[in-house]
């Protein structure tokens, strides 16, 4: 294996991307056969439109959340607070653009810094107080939405600021602006984790925290960092979500989205037990979930029962990833041949 080949394998998580990619391909194939309009594109005013573009646009929030979630899960934890942090970011953003005349260039970093702080708080609870991640982040999952409600006074705050509206509705390079946001965040995250030793420290911490600490890896600092990063990702997603509807609805923004993000990460090939992670896999996982949702809508499935087939596909994708399940499946085949 050459050096560059090793590098590429490292960036793309070795062979682990095979199954998520196959799942996504199967879903697209299904649409190709049963709903060919899925692949239609249209150019209007120099912008690309079509179902696939919609998927990229709609999926941007889960993709962003799953970037942060991947790192948190790699550290051996989980972050349930991201949906609520989206609401915090949306409420803060909407308040700042309506109640103050601060330039949007200040509003964005302010919202993200706030969410980053909340994330760091999660991290401190996990490291300094040794609270289990699921409980520690559950606290903010519940109180975060409360804080957002408090900020907005329980009202839906609407806004018209063009720059804010552009975030979730504008176009750049012929594609929705959200695509650029996701790409830039993804590349930045890849760079930070793979071009510095942060990725190695994170994988080592998730794989064996004690051993890593004994090697001098600053495991607590790494953990606080990834929770803070997850908060920032949630902040970006929250700004997009509120921009989409030109309003901050603290009750609904990001509702249940933490679960979609966890699904995306797990389907994408990062184990919940921590350790090795693949950011690209999580992106594919997020796309898989969004494609699935869109497919349901396209087929005219009532939203009330849409979660059922969604759950089935997710279970199937998870099972396909399990080497044990694949072995069991293989074990079944010859037996069937003999009986």
């Amino acid at each position: 294996m050459s050096d560059s080949e090793k590098k590429i394998r490292g960036w793309f998580g070795g062979g682990r991307l095979l199954w998520p990619v196959l799942s996504l391909a199967a879903l697209l194939l299904f649409n190709l056969i049963f709903a060919p309009s899925f692949f239609h594109f249209e150019i209007k005013d120099g912008h690309l439109y079509g179902t696939l573009v919609d998927i990229l646009n709609q999926g941007s929030k889960v993709m962003l959340l799953s970037l942060g979630m991947t790192l948190v899960i790699a550290s051996g934890g989980v972050d349930l607070s991201v949906g609520s942090l989206m609401a915090v970011a949306a409420a803060t953003g909407a308040l700042l653009v309506t109640k103050t005349s601060l330039p949007f260039g200040i509003v964005v970093p302010a919202c993200l810094a706030l969410c980053g702080l909340f994330g760091a708080f999660n991290g401190l609870m996990v490291t300094a107080l040794r609270i289990q991640p699921i409980i520690a982040t559950l606290i903010l999952m519940v109180t975060g939405r409360g804080i957002a409600m408090l900020l907005t006074g329980g009202q839906v705050i609407t806004f018209e600021r063009a720059s804010y509206v552009y975030v979730g509705n504008g176009h750049l390079f012929g594609l929705p602006f959200t695509t650029t946001i996701v790409l830039v965040t993804l590349v930045a995250t890849l760079w930070i984790t793979r071009r510095t030793a942060v990725g190695l420290f994170l994988e080592a911490t998730g794989d064996n925290e004690t051993a890593s600490r004994f090697c001098g890896v600053p495991t607590a600092r790494i953990k606080v960092l990834v929770y803070a990063f997850s908060g920032v990702c949630a902040g970006i997603a929250g700004l997009i979500a509120s921009s989409n509807i030109k309003a901050a609805d603290a009750n609904r923004v990001g509702e249940m989205m933490e679960l979609d993000a966890i699904f995306a990460v797990v389907v994408g090939g990062t184990a919940l037990t921590g350790g090795r992670f693949t950011l690209v896999g999580s992106m594919i996982g997020a796309l898989l979930i969004q494609t699935l949702t869109t497919t349901m809508y396209n087929l005219g499935m009532p939203p009330a029962i849409a979660p059922v087939p969604k759950a089935i596909v997710i279970v199937a994708a998870c099972l396909l990833q399990s080497a044990k399940f694949r072995d069991a499946l293989r074990g079944l085949l010859p037996r069937r041949a003999t009986t």
């Binding site: 294996m1 050096d3 090793k6 590098k7 394998r9 071009r195 510095t196 030793a197 942060v198 190695l200 420290f201 994988e203 080592a204 794989d207 064996n208 004690t210 051993a211 890593s212 600490r213 004994f214 090697c215 001098g216 890896v217 600053p218 790494i222 350790g275 090795r276």
Partner: protein, 536 residues
């Protein structure tokens, strides 16, 4: 006592093989009703395998077990329990948030029409505790009781199923002296009631305090069965370590060297190639060494200690010297190493490195002072199993550089390839996950991890445990070459001959205390004598 009818359990010719390891080979165990029987042996002796076979956790490959006049082959702990064999494990397996009574009767609560009869349950639990001579409010929450009481409650629970044989697996490891005494009183009481008790412990004094007979295992084989009163402590240690107590162990001298059985015998074999000093000295300052001491030791620790870890002790480690840390399992060797490396915080004492006092509060800090620690527990404290050989190898080095100064990949590969060749690590390539390597090769990767740091002091805790003979010899050779290059080495091992071969000086620990220090001219026999020496 020796009446045949007293014999409750007769295990004969028990054998068990795990993939690649013969864990037990033709082991006999005889337990009599009305006796406390110690099961002794160092790590890997086969004690826990034997117990797990008796309690139905493992199935034996060969051999017979006759219990209470019947042949038994328990397939699960509950089957063993039904037959009358109960076990209390080292960690108390109870539920802290339930009451004492519930814990004693969990799964067997007295019921009427499916409804728990609380009053009957409390009465029953109180009776079970009474049998141990324990009076206790049984509706108390378990976690409000001390560990010792919890231990007794676990015993009460074990006995409540009409047990004839009670197996106590290291029950005393988290108890203080008084609590141990209370436990022993209960054990004697049960023995006098006609129960057979199998007692596993690492504390020699406890064996002599409470047991009637001893079965010693070593490396999966039976060494023998002895009456406690007729087996001097020194001999017991010798048997556990696989040595003859009366003469020098044959492994020291090398082939064909005649060995006078005198205490002053210089270390044979390898000993000739290194400086030997005129006189041996126990604790206290020695004037003798000319080559090493006189300058400031690399590390000097004054009365460092930790409650339930080690009693305060002094240590000095010089550059270019291997200091051995000898003692039986549980004597405080690892605890000492953990104090030095900043893993556990010490309650007392000071440490200075190269003459300067240092706090040593975390592994990170210890590493920055030039220390390295290769843990005895490779799996939980050493390897990151799913990461590659390369990543495991450079982890400490990268950690000391910080996250932002990533070692370039070609450099990582160069270091990994260098150590794979230098230490003869058998791996498919640098990117193989370390879990796919054999134990000995994993150990070498971990050694390489620290050697790449070029530490000034390396602490090796049982570096040769669980690895094959060839790898052992390689590691010993490596330690010698590190010493020659001026590194200080703290070498911890249960294998006395190994300690004697590689060290210039040995600190001996027993029951979490430093009991002596030997220098220059010492051998296994003198170490064993120190270990066996009675309490002051």
């Amino acid at each position: 006592m020796s009446d045949r009818t007293d014999e409750l359990l007769l295990a004969r010719g028990i054998g068990k093989t795990f993939p690649g390891v013969k864990a037990l080979d033709k082991v006999d165990l005889t337990l009599r009703a009305g006796e406390i029987h110690a099961l002794m042996g160092e790590n890997g002796a086969g004690k826990s395998t034997l117990i797990k076979i008796l309690t139905g956790v493992y199935a034996r490959d060969v051999g017979t077990i006759e219990f209470d006049g019947r042949q038994i082959s328990p397939n699960s702990p509950s089957e063993a329990e039904a037959a009358g064999i109960s076990t209390v494990y080292q960690e108390v397996n109870l539920i802290p948030t339930l009451s004492v009574a519930e814990n004693i009767l969990l799964g067997r609560q007295p019921k009427k029409f499916g409804i728990i009869q609380w009053r009957a349950m409390r009465r029953h639990a109180a009776r079970a505790l009474e049998r141990l001579g324990l009076e206790l409010e049984v509706s108390r929450e378990l976690r409000s009781c001390s560990i010792a009481i919890q231990q007794m409650i676990a015993i009460a629970r074990a006995l409540d199923v009409q047990a004839k044989l009670l197996i106590l697996d290291e029950p005393t490891s988290s108890l203080d002296e008084q609590e141990c005494e209370a436990l022993f009183a209960v054990m004697r009481r049960l023995r006098d009631d006609g129960l057979a008790i199998a007692f596993v412990t690492h504390f020699l004094d406890q064996v002599y305090a409470v047991t009637d007979r001893i079965t010693v295992l070593r490396n999966g084989g039976l060494v023998g069965e002895f009456e406690t009163a007729k087996l001097p402590k020194l001999e017991l240690i010798a048997k556990m370590l696989g040595k003859e107590s009366g003469e020098l162990p044959s492994s020291v001298g090398g082939a064909g060297t005649p060995l006078p059985a005198s205490e002053g015998h210089p270390k044979g074999g390898l000993g000739e190639t290194r400086p030997t000093f005129e006189s041996a000295s126990a604790i206290g300052d020695s004037e003798a060494p000319t080559t090493i001491s006189k300058k400031t030791p690399f590390l000097s620790a004054k009365s460092i200690g930790r409650k339930m870890g080690v009693e305060p002790l002094d240590l000095q480690i010089n550059a270019g010297e291997v200091l051995g840390l000898a003692g039986l399992l549980g004597s405080g060797r690892t605890e000492t190493a953990r104090l030095l490396f900043g893993i556990d915080s010490r309650d007392s004492g000071h440490v200075s490195v190269e003459g300067k006092p240092v706090p040593l509060r975390s592994p990170r800090e210890a590493i920055s002072r030039g220390l390295a620690f290769c843990s005895e527990d490779r799996k939980t404290e050493g390897i990151a199993p799913n990461l590659s050989v390369r990543e495991n190898l450079i982890l400490a080095m990268q950690a000391s550089r910080g996250a932002l100064r990533q070692l370039p990949l070609p450099e990582q590969l160069r270091i990994a390839d260098h150590y794979i060749r230098a230490l003869n690590i058998k791996t498919a390539d640098t990117e193989t996950p370390i879990r796919n390597l054999s134990g000995g090769n994993q150990q070498k990767v971990l050694l390489a991890r620290w050697l790449a740091m070029q530490p000034k002091l390396i602490i090796l805790d049982e570096p040769t445990r669980g690895i094959d003979v060839g790898a052992k010899a390689e590691i010993e050779k490596l330690v010698e070459s590190l010493r020659e290059r001026g590194m200080a080495v703290l070498f911890i091992s249960s294998e006395l001959d190994e300690v004697v071969r590689v060290s210039q000086r040995v600190v001996v620990l027993r029951d979490r205390r430093k009991v002596g220090e030997l220098e220059g001219d010492f051998d296994e026999h003198r170490i064993m004598n120190l270990i066996a020496q009675p309490h002051e």
